[in-house]
Amino acid sequence: MASIASIAQVCKSKNAGPFFFTIDVVFEKKEMFERVRATNVLKAELFADLYKVDLADVQFTIYPAALAFKATVPRRIPAGEIGDSDVYGAQQHAPLLTVDIPINDLD
């Protein structure tokens, strides 16, 4: 097992407009990207679960050109609305960091 934090080059979140978070996981090497992709852990269902939204509301894209996985999910509270805690959406990536990918990162 290897956590996303231990194998990804980038793991980040940001608003995609005031009503959505977009979360990106990017790998440095194509080989690692392909191994992660083959495990099928990074998929829409995972993001629906972590961000507590309906599966149908997750826009999930695998983007090989950037060795990236991208998910866009609706915000429970729009940016700047009463109770919002992250106007830019820049710190909503943390739940991804501890997601385990079933590969041996020492391979």
């Binding site: 940001k14 608003n15 739940p95």
Partner: protein, 453 residues
């Protein structure tokens, strides 16, 4: 072969760039230089209040270097989403800075001001005709929502910029614009394709952001038929195929489908080739025109007024019992505020607990033990500032002095970092309009005013 050269100076006008990077960019004789000045990311306050999230001092510094360079070289300047949100006060504030710079530096130029703030009667008519559509799951645009809005702007595409360039404007200050608009304008105007034009705009909207290492700086883009070439002007930065591909992830819901006013830019089949160790050529972008012309709207409405207090505890007994304590605090605040005439319906009290779930709220997955201190950001929102300040004063003192089981720190539960302890945060807004409107022409919502500066 037609070639269009474009110089983007920085990520946001007012975020800064090295003066030398501008000089290096100008040496390559761009057809247009510019900077995006806005973003919706800083939240609804800026559109509502008419203020900018970058300081006037910082905006003036960047704009002054660009206007001086324009006077020396004749290269026109385009500033899009002026003043951060592109409303009329934002546009006017940026225009006033341009006039001030012209006076100080003895410059003269033809300036175009492109308005994007929308007339409520026009929008109400469009809504009644069924020509508006909600985005992001919002309710349909009704007359009441339009009426309640403090300010609504439309996001212009390239066409108003094309018109201003055709009219010979040397300095264009645009209201709310889709980020690629001014850049796409220069490319389309030169007769190159929509796909290359929008892709170039996507690359340029954030300065040197597609380059490494990351810092606000200038990006130079050369567009020819079928391709776009990106290179940062600062020799310490470089674009790589991966850094450019990665930039497609930035603030987009999809890295490959980009919805724009007149169509969709599809980058699924883009090819990224290094042309040097610092420059990348991208080809294979496609443009799918849509059958209807739609303009996106952004609008905000006033929620109320906010007051804030910050305090923190270092007491382990309180930390161990923090949830029931905060319930008790809310009860006492309700009792005391109702005694001076502010009922439960008149205020919202938000208590953010940093050290527990202040950043993620209900989405926080961590359920382990808490640390040795907790910080509270307490916020009251009321119909008036006076009410909000009254509620926050009671909430702050209640947080400080309320009793709890096993309490040892009987003189006070909170460290309060400032005097005054309570901060008046002023008006608070929410995004209330996030819709599209169908129009007949891409310029009808964006009047241009020309001025001899």
């Amino acid at each position: 072969m037609t070639e269009v050269r474009l110089l983007s100076t920085t990520a946001i006008l007012g975020y800064g760039f090295p003066e030398d990077s501008l000089k290096r960019g100008l040496a390559r004789k761009p057809h247009l230089m510019g900077a995006d000045a806005g973003s919706v990311d800083p939240g609804p306050y800026y559109l509502g209040s008419g203020k900018s999230f970058a300081s006037p001092r910082a905006i003036k510094r960047d704009l002054q270097l660009m206007l001086r360079a324009s006077a020396e070289t004749g290269v026109p300047v385009a500033i899009s989403t002026a003043g951060g949100a592109g409303g009329t006060p934002h546009l006017e504030a940026t225009a006033e800075l341009a006039r001030e710079i012209a006076r100080e530096d003895k410059l003269d130029f033809k300036m175009a001001l492109i308005g994007s703030e929308q007339d409520k009667a026009f929008l109400a008519r469009k809504a009644a005709e069924g020509k508006t559509r909600a985005l992001a799951g919002l309710p349909a645009l009704g007359g009441e929502t339009i009426e309640r809005a403090t300010r609504i702007v439309g996001l212009m595409g390239p066409e108003p910029y094309i018109e201003a360039l055709d009219a010979g404007a040397q300095v264009i200050i645009g209201g709310r614009s889709t980020d690629p608009a001014p850049w796409a304008a220069a490319v389309i105007r030169a007769g190159l394709g929509q796909a290359e034009a929008w892709y170039a705009g996507k690359m340029l909207e954030c300065g040197a952001e597609p380059a490494l290492p990351k810092k606000e700086d200038c990006l130079f883009v050369t567009v020819t038929e079928g391709g776009v070439e990106c290179e940062p002007t600062n020799p310490i930065r470089r674009c790589t195929p991966m850094s450019v591909a990665n930039f497609a992830l930035h603030e987009n819901s999809s890295p490959v489908r980009h919805v724009e006013p007149g169509g969709v830019l599809d980058t699924t089949d883009c090819v990224f080739e290094a042309v040097s160790d610092r420059a990348v050529r991208i080809s294979g972008m496609r443009w799918e025109p849509s059958d209807r012309l739609t303009i996106k709207l952004e609008g905000v409405e006033l929620v109320g007024y906010r007051a804030v207090a910050i305090c923190a505890t270092r007491d382990p007994v309180l930390i161990a019992t923090i949830d029931p304590y905060l319930v008790r605090v809310r009860e006492i605040v309700a009792e005391k505020t109702s005694a001076f005439g502010i009922g439960a319906a008149d205020y919202e009290l938000v208590i953010r607990v940093y050290g527990r779930d202040g950043v993620m709220g209900a989405l926080e997955p961590y359920k382990g033990p808490l640390g040795h201190e907790l910080c509270f950001v307490i916020e009251a929102i009321c119909p008036t500032q006076e009410q909000a300040s009254a509620v926050i004063a009671i909430a702050r003192t209640t947080m400080l002095h309320s009793d709890f089981p096993g309490r040892l720190c009987k003189e006070g539960n909170m460290a309060i970092p400032f005097s005054p302890s309570d901060l008046e945060a002023g008006a608070m807004y929410r995004f209330s309009v996030f819709h599209t409107v169908e129009v007949d022409t891409p310029t009808e919502m964006f009047p241009i005013r020309y001025e001899k500066v």
